[in-house]
């Protein structure tokens, strides 16, 4: 009997403390919900399709490109490349935009010799494969952070070089590109 009473008293105290802690549940659940929403929003960004722009750039000390279709590269790229590389001029050979569905790959033929394959991986990383004349030469995996430019490059004939510049297209930039394309037409 005494044991039963003690047990009841203990449980009564426990339930009192539990009731006290339940009072904080709405606050706690609100906080957890908020945190979960933040993480979900972050996750949804990476679960969505990946829109990229790949540009093949030729770096040379020549003032003009032998190919008339080549135009000087975008000033942003030119400044970045000139800061680290020895070549005086950079020409845009080819530029492509691509949408890579989640967890899928896309191949981009940048030139006759150069093909890249980009795969959207789980989380932030992308995998880039470089094919030279049909042969797989190099492969790298890297997280693509906001505004970052990832380049794969190498030497070319006559003391020149080639660069494949890859960057993620942000929605605003995408609109601008579409506007530019419409203007060019």
């Amino acid at each position: 009997m005494i044991a039963t009473k003690s047990w009841l008293r203990l449980n009564l105290r426990k339930s009192r403390s539990m009731i006290n802690s339940y009072r904080f549940l709405p606050r706690l659940s609100g906080l957890i919900l908020g945190v979960a929403l933040v993480f979900l929003s972050q996750a949804s960004v990476h679960a969505a399709d990946l829109k990229l722009e790949a540009t093949l750039v030729w770096g040379t000390n020549d003032e003009k490109s032998p190919d008339a279709s080549h135009k000087p590269v975008d000033t942003v790229y030119a400044k970045k490349l000139a800061k680290y590389f020895k070549w005086k001029n950079y020409f845009e050979v080819n530029r492509q935009t691509v949408t890579i569905p989640s967890r899928q790959s896309k191949r981009l033929t940048m030139s006759k010799q150069c093909v890249i394959e980009i795969t959207e991986l789980e989380g932030e990383p992308i995998e880039v494969k470089l094919y030279g004349e049909g042969k797989l030469l190099n492969k790298f995996t890297k997280a693509l952070t906001k505004g970052e430019i990832v380049a794969i490059a190498g030497d070319d004939k006559n003391e020149s070089a080639w660069f494949v510049m890859i960057k993620e297209i942000e929605p605003k930039a995408e609109e601008e590109l579409a506007r530019k394309a419409a203007g060019e037409k």
Partner: protein, 169 residues
């Protein structure tokens, strides 16, 4: 209505009568007609009440029991104070919201910093898939640029050899 004598007899039975009045009551009880009957009746009533009075023993310790009462009184007083102060309930409603919003804001800012170009902690895995080529990489946090430079392994060997030869010469 009870008379003073009946009340005195009750007090005598309960032992609440002052000593000087006890003898007086005893004398009256011995002399007065029907007073013994009254005494017997009151004694029986007292005994019946004592035997059948419901007991309410405390299950909790005395201190714990009184602390509960104290807590309830405090809670009621707080509730009354809260009711008289509208600002308190306002704070009570918005405090968790503001706290939650602050935490979310801190997280968003933290994640933003975490994903910022300056925070270039992300691991990179580079594999050379051909025996003819090799590569090196570098990163420029200021320009937010990452470059993998692929070059011919044979050319590298040739340039190393020529450099060595020029040193010998």
């Amino acid at each position: 209505m009870k008379t003073d004598f009946e009340l005195n007899v009750q007090a005598y039975l309960d032992g609440e009568l002052p000593e000087n009045e006890v003898k007086e009551v005893q004398a009256v009880l011995a002399a007065r007609l029907g007073s013994q009957e009254l005494l017997r009746e009151l004694t029986q009533t007292r005994d019946l009440l004592r035997q059948n009075e419901p007991q309410a023993p405390l299950t909790d310790s005395r201190d714990f029991y009184w602390s509960q009462i104290r807590r309830r009184i405090d809670a009621e007083e707080k509730a009354k104070t809260a009711a008289s102060q509208p600002g308190w309930s306002f704070r009570r409603f918005f405090a968790p919201l503001i706290t939650g919003a602050a935490c979310v804001f801190a997280l968003v800012v933290g994640i933003g910093k975490f994903n910022s170009p300056a925070n270039s902690w992300s691991p990179v895995v580079i594999e050379n898939m051909s025996s003819e080529t090799t590569s090196m990489s570098f990163r420029s946090p200021s320009e937010n640029l990452f470059v993998v430079w692929v070059y011919d392994r044979n050319e590298e060997l040739a340039s190393a050899q020529s450099a060595e030869e020029s040193l010998h010469d």
